[in-house]
């Protein structure tokens, strides 16, 4: 059986945080194709290169879900959301939603984040377990679409 894994993108500058998230995803045993970017700028470059990436990997691009950290060098999570909102008008990433993934955020930041309708959830680093993550992933990603 030829299964295509739903692609997801983790944007976080902290290697340990990325490792923790990847390991939790592994524990959910959900078949996911994980991409990693180390800050908002890298992620934007990756997404903006839509045509080429799509050609290279038609099923693996664009990601259906982005885990987004807030505090990052260069382009932080908030700035990424602003740019991503603009990007959504140009390229076909409508099916891509965002799940915030940060240890803390200020109230005004949270308010701003939640004004974007493509931001679906807010995960606090270190405060959730694999089964909770699985539940959230299942509610966002329709895995039936990926079964042949």
């Amino acid at each position: 059986m030829n299964t295509i894994k739903p692609p997801i993108l983790i944007i976080d500058d902290d290697e340990v945080d990325r490792y923790v998230l990847k390991r939790l995803i592994k524990e959910t045993q959900l078949p996911l194709n994980i991409f990693e970017k180390k800050d908002g700028q890298e992620a934007l470059d990756f997404l903006q290169n839509y045509e080429e990436n799509k050609k290279e990997d038609p099923d693996g691009f664009p990601p259906v879900l982005i885990f987004l950290d807030i505090n990052m060098p260069r382009v932080n999570g908030i700035q990424f959301l602003e740019e991503f909102a603009k990007l959504r008008e140009i390229i076909e990433v409508d099916s891509c939603v965002v799940m915030m993934f940060s240890s803390s955020a200020r109230e005004e930041e949270k308010e701003k984040i939640m004004t974007y309708d493509f931001v679906k959830d807010y995960l606090v680093k270190g405060s959730f377990k694999a089964d909770e993550l699985k539940e959230k992933l299942l509610s966002i990603i329709d895995f039936s679409l990926y079964e042949n």
Binding site: D13, Y19, K38, D39, E42, N71, P73, R74, S103, G126
Partner: protein, 484 residues
């Protein structure tokens, strides 16, 4: 003449005119009074004449009635003399009518003589016939005098009428002319001043000269007072504006300080929490790994925890240093820069080796620096370790150089590298707290450069940077007199 003097003159003139008018009215009324008195006089003489006629025809003599009649007759000349004042007498003398008053006096004398003859008759000193003859004589003289009185009085009254009425008219006319003139001069001086003040495009010196030459004392005083008042008000206004500006800037800087503090607290707590939550998850994984017998992964994760803890330790040290940077220290010593570099190189040895960099320092100091050593150590170490961290792997050899020297009254520290460089758009944020610009080498706390800036500001110094893909150069300039 100033305005108040002119106004007093107007009042005096008006009062004079009014007085003259009232006086004239009284004088004219007096003429009528004289005529009235003479008319009464004639009436009483007539009354006496009737009594006398009946006595002559043989009626008995009622001395009381006759005495009463004579007393009444005597009353008019007395009143007439009382009415005539000094001015009347003076006028009468001039126009030659003073005989009217002489006539009055004569009449009184005649009356007195008649009254005397009554008493003589009563005392039987004179006979009835003698009495009658005396009385007839008196009546004759009374009538004669009364007739003679009319002419000078008429003349006097006429004179008063023809002199006083034109006099009043002339004085009134003069008064009107003078008052109009005075009020015109007053209003024109006010008008002139108004024109002068509302004229534009004249420099102040000119205006002052014009005011000096064209205005009267009181208006000048008014202008001076107004000028001073306006000046004072302007000063007050300026002063309150200055105060407002001070309050505004102070509020703004307090607000900024407050915002910075809030930002710092948030970022510090966030960055402190981050390695902890990472370590917490990693510890869980180790337990799982041990359970599943995956020792390698467990060891990897334990190493990661160790790294997280080192990161946390560095962060706590940096935050403490930053907190201390605002407070002056008593710990002032002679700084041995050679030793400082040696100690630092030992601490950064792992970074130099890991990144395959070379580090060299040169020192050219003409005098010994005595200051807070810790601040210098932190400035130099942060700049050097940044250079080492952000080295460019793609360059054949990486280096960081540190140059410390004094020039004139300045101590200069230059740290340069051939590393990655700081992209132009981030150069303005280099000294902001918790800012990092490189994703692959994110081992920094984001505090180092903020700390450097704080120390330099503490010494009233300056830091500048030049950066390109060829590398970065930081130049620190510290005034010698502020170092200690």
């Amino acid at each position: 003449m100033n305005i108040s003097k002119k106004l007093i003159l107007i009042v005096i003139l008006t009062v004079t005119v009014a007085s003259v008018t009232i006086f004239s009215a009284f004088e004219i009324a007096k003429g009528a009074k004289f005529h009235q008195l003479n008319f009464l006089h004639l009436k009483y003489i007539n009354q006496l004449t009737k009594s006398f006629e009946s006595i002559r025809q043989g009626a008995p003599i009622n001395t009381n009635t006759i005495k009463k009649d004579i007393l009444v007759i005597r009353q008019q000349p007395i009143e007439c003399l009382l009415q005539a004042n000094v001015l009347n007498k003076f006028i009468m003398n001039i126009i030659n009518t003073s005989q009217a008053l002489t006539i009055c006096k004569k009449d009184i004398m005649i009356a007195n003589t008649a009254l005397e003859s009554i008493s003589q008759y009563e005392n039987s000193e004179i006979t009835r016939n003698e009495f009658i003859t005396g009385l007839e004589h008196a009546i004759y003289n009374f009538n004669k005098n009364s007739n003679e009185f009319e002419q000078p009085i008429n003349k006097t009254v006429t004179f008063i009428l023809i002199t006083l009425i034109p006099l009043v008219l002339i004085i009134s006319m003069l008064n009107i002319i003078i008052i109009s003139y005075l009020s015109r001069t007053i209003s024109s001086s006010i008008r002139n001043l108004t024109i002068l003040l509302s004229s534009k495009s004249k420099d102040n010196a000119n205006l002052d000269d014009d005011l000096e030459s064209n205005t009267t004392d009181e208006l000048k005083a008014l202008i001076i007072a107004a000028k001073q008042r306006i000046k004072k008000d302007l000063l007050n206004l300026e002063f309150s504006k200055e105060l407002q500006a001070i309050v505004k800037t102070q509020t703004a800087s307090l607000q900024q300080a407050n915002d910075e503090l809030a930002q710092f607290a948030y970022r510090a707590s966030h960055d402190l929490k981050s390695p902890l939550s990472g370590a917490k998850s990693l510890a869980q994984f180790i337990i799982q790994d041990i359970k599943t017998g995956d020792t390698d992964e467990a060891i990897n994760n334990a190493k990661k925890i160790h790294q997280q803890m080192e990161k946390l330790e560095k962060l706590v040290i940096d935050i403490l240093a930053l907190a201390k940077a605002d407070i002056g220290s008593e710990d002032v010593t002679k700084i041995d820069f050679d030793q400082l570099i040696v100690d630092m190189t030992e601490r950064l040895d792992w970074l130099i080796k890991d990144n395959n960099c070379t580090f060299e320092a040169t020192m050219r100091l003409s005098k010994t620096i005595t200051s807070e050593k810790a601040r210098f150590a932190q400035i130099i170490e942060n700049l050097v370790s940044n250079g080492l961290k952000y080295h460019d792997k793609n360059k054949a050899s990486s280096y960081v150089k540190c140059d410390i020297f004094d020039r004139g009254n300045e101590l200069i520290i230059i740290v340069s590298d051939n590393g990655l460089g700081i992209p132009k758009q981030y150069q303005s944020q280099v000294f902001d707290m918790f800012k990092r610009f490189h994703v692959d080498t994110s081992s920094g706390s984001g505090i180092g450069m903020a700390l450097v800036k704080k120390h330099i500001e503490y010494f009233d110094g300056e830091i500048s940077l030049e950066s390109s893909t060829a590398g970065t150069t930081f130049k620190v300039t510290l005034p010698m007199d502020k170092i200690v």
